[in-house]
């Protein structure tokens, strides 16, 4: 590693600890966790609800810190990540490890004591999954890494639901599936137009290993079951027409852009308009579908 010994005699700034938790990723995690909790449709004490969301956010922050602890060597090789606290030499690697482990235990124990055991158990599984299965085991070994990593990001609505009800039913499992299947198209669209960066770090991202054509096929291949998982709560009677029609409409647009991505033959990032569109729309898609579910479950059914 490329850190100077001089810097490490400085204690790291508190802002660098905050940066370790990837605050921007956390906002999506908090949103889907909150939607999972609200969609459960049972009254939750506001303090307990707040604590549950806080624990989800802290758990996600802990997992992010452990990810940066383990991936400091990779981060140093990519432009996008080279300024993170560890590769930039502002923080000792050991400090990130202690911070991540401490925050993991804190979030899970607080969830167990203040909320319930099911939520705490799923939170613990999601942190372990992200750190051990995704970061340590699969990310550097398989181009399907992002598929497995997506599972870690799919836990928050399940945790939110479990926090509200104390158990897990079919609807939170469908929400898990939705995010799980949404992640590959979302991330592969991005990795198509930032490919060179991953190639430099030697991460086996799908466009690097199998090329753009296969990546575009895989994007559509995941978008179809994703759309099915999104619409499924309606015919299954778990949500009403408002949700069903919103999810169907947004899914159709998503599929439409995915088809345009498939038909695009460009290899230069400048000509990858459909890919950039899909990436941008995928974020809006998740917010719209989850937002519609909450509106539907709270006010309409």
């Amino acid at each position: 590693m490329n850190t100077t010994t001089l810097d490490q005699t400085y204690p790291a700034d508190w802002r660098d600890f905050l940066a370790l938790t990837k605050p921007r990723v956390m906002s999506l995690v908090v949103f889907t966790g909150l939607c999972g909790m609200l969609a459960a449709g049972v009254p939750v004490n506001p303090v307990i609800g707040f604590t549950a969301i806080l624990c989800i956010a802290l758990g996600a922050g802990a997992a992010a810190a452990l990810n940066m602890w383990f991936e400091a060597d990779l981060d140093a090789k990519m432009k996008r990540t080279a300024k993170r606290p560890i590769p930039a030499g502002r923080m000792d690697r050991q400090a990130a490890l202690h911070f991540g482990v401490g925050l993991s235990f804190f979030s899970v124990i607080l969830m167990e004591l203040a909320v319930n055991r099911v939520a705490a158990a799923v939170l613990a599984v999601s942190i372990l999954f992200y750190v051990l299965v995704y970061t340590v085991w699969l990310k550097r070994r398989t181009p399907q890494n992002i598929v497995i990593g997506g599972a870690a990001g799919a836990f928050p609505p399940v945790i939110g639901w479990a926090a509200a009800t104390g158990h897990i039913t079919l609807l939170p499992v469908l929400l898990f599936l939705l995010i799980f299947l949404w992640t590959p198209p979302h991330f592969w669209a991005l990795s198509l137009f930032v490919r060179s960066d991953y190639a430099a770090a030697g991460v086996p991202m799908l466009p690097v290993v199998s090329g753009a054509r296969v990546t575009r096929q895989q994007i559509l291949l995941y978008s179809v079951p994703m759309a099915a998982a999104a619409v499924a709560p309606w015919p299954l009677g778990l949500a009403g027409a408002f949700y069903g029609i919103t999810a169907a409409a947004f899914s159709l647009v998503f599929l439409g852009i995915a088809v345009r991505v498939l038909l695009n033959k460009a290899s230069e990032p400048a000509e990858m308009k459909p890919e950039k569109q899909l990436f941008a729309f995928s974020i809006l898609y998740l917010f719209a579908v989850f937002g519609a579910l909450v509106i539907d479950r709270i006010w309409l059914t």
């Binding site: 001089l6 810097d7 400085y10 204690p11 700034d13 802002r15 660098d16 921007r24 004490n45 307990i48």
Partner: protein
């Protein structure tokens, strides 16, 4: 989270800089601990009202 002013510093650490950072961390820690005390108090009250 871009902090262009806090770049890698290659000069030897000075006591003043170390104290400044320690002070910053101590203040944050104090604020977080106070927030945690308030949270635990609120959770206790909430739990008691749920179980009643």
């Amino acid at each position: 989270m871009t902090e262009p002013t806090r770049t890698t510093d290659l000069t030897p650490p000075t006591d003043a800089e170390i104290r400044r950072r320690q002070k910053g961390r101590a203040i944050i820690m104090a604020v977080l601990l106070a927030a945690f005390v308030i949270l635990v108090y609120a959770i206790t009250i909430a739990k008691m009202s749920i179980n009643r």
